[in-house]
């Protein structure tokens, strides 16, 4: 090898070693896990007040990796606003939830419930915990309508989890997005944090009852839910989920609730069983 070539290699060695060290430290770019989204309306009838059930599920990536979820953003159809409903007539706060649990919140702040599954690496195996999720109306944050998800973790998730979702309308957009950051999930294993791998929640009056005083008596009633528009857009009512993970990867999913069949349009108020 000629002398100039050897000199050039010698000069490049420090830089080369830095690059090699950097490559050794930075893990290979992780593939994003697969995400599925599910949405249903009950009843599914144009013009009707409805309960919206939403659920997402995270499946491990091609190499089996399942990073911790750090944020989920759910784009809702334009008609899903609380203003024309009577859902969440009171508010609850994160501190109340953490101190007293779901029972500490005013009954009328409850707007929906469901369940969530958290996965925790525990020694050489993976432990899953499925717990109940309650959804509450909260006071606005930064002038945005805000909701709270309360996950009552027991074991291996050692603490209740409160997620705060804000309903925002991005610039130059007609849609509103429920953006919910997910804090680190503490676990009993004292190891890596837990990863939320699935959640489903029903928002609406289907299983909700509020109470009011009428002539000195307490009367239970169903709050008014979201109203499905009287016309259905082509392709149905679309929901889009965008998930971000702690390792920087992102994944998304979309689903659409198909338009009700035409023969259901003309039906009376009665719900088809």
């Amino acid at each position: 090898m000629s002398r100039p070539v050897l000199m050039a290699i010698a000069r490049a060695l420090p830089g080369l070693s830095v690059v090699l060290v950097f490559l050794a430290l930075v893990p290979a770019a992780a593939a994003a896990p697969a995400v599925s989204l599910r949405a249903t309306l009950e009843p599914k009838r144009l013009g009707a007040d409805t309960t919206v059930s939403l659920g997402f599920r995270v499946a491990p990536g091609p190499n089996g990796e399942l990073p911790a979820l750090s944020n989920f953003a759910l784009r809702l159809p334009p008609w899903m606003g609380f203003a024309a409903s009577t859902l969440g007539l009171s508010t609850c706060s994160p501190s109340t939830l953490l101190l007293l649990g779901a029972g500490g919140c005013p009954h009328e702040s409850l707007i929906g419930f469901g369940s969530a599954r958290v996965q925790v690496p525990f020694a050489s195996q993976v432990v899953q915990e499925t717990g109940r999720v309650s959804m509450f109306m909260a006071k606005p944050v930064d002038q945005h309508t805000t909701t709270l998800f309360y996950f009552d973790g027991r074991r291996p998730v050692i603490a209740p989890l409160v997620l705060q979702g804000e309903l925002v309308t991005p610039q130059d957009s007609l849609d509103s997005v429920l953006t919910t950051p997910i804090p680190a999930i503490p676990t009993a294993s004292d190891g890596p944090e837990g990863a939320m791998v699935a959640m489903r929640v029903s928002i609406g009056p289907r299983r909700l009852r509020y109470f009011k005083r009428v002539d000195g008596h307490t009367v239970a009633y169903r709050p008014k839910g979201f109203s499905i528009p009287t016309t259905c857009p082509p392709g149905g009512f679309e929901f889009v989920a965008k998930l971000r993970f702690r390792d920087g990867t992102r994944a998304g999913a979309r689903t659409a609730v198909p338009c009700p069949p035409p023969r259901e349009h003309g039906r009376g108020r009665g719900e088809r069983r």
Binding site: P78, K139, T145
Partner: protein, 174 residues
Amino acid sequence: MLVNRPIYPKRRPALLATALLGAVATLVGLWPALASPPASAGPPAPAASAQASAVRDLDEILHLRIKKVKGKRVFAKGRATGTVAGTGSFKLLLSNGSSASATFFGHNSHGTISGTGVATYRVAGAISYYSGKITSLQGTGRYAHAGSRGIRFSGTVNRRTYQVKMHLQGKWHV
């Protein structure tokens, strides 16, 4: 019989150029007057005075009650007090989870006034808060020449009692 004729006659360019030159000359002549106000603080011309006095403050409070909620439409009716006292109605069309378009209508023995605007809203328990601006304003009778000169509105809707209170404030051209 239809005959294809050129839309512009051949002499039109010359006419246009003459008109353009005239307009430029007029504008140059007027420019000092347009660019700076007169140095003397004399009384304004009668026409200018009438125009200035036509822009007035609007301070209106609507006390309404929701009469109908259908889909994403909220319709409220009640009374208006303030600059234009009378009967009023307010309609909200919710665009999505945080924005809406608003229409209001008011009338009294002097005429009618109506406007449209855009608003953002947030829900805090039973109360939802709205704020926005009126983008167009028109009227009849005494308010036939009504126009918005920057009217903003803010208010609340009580989803439990169906009471609505909206406050309109700003300048308007009467």
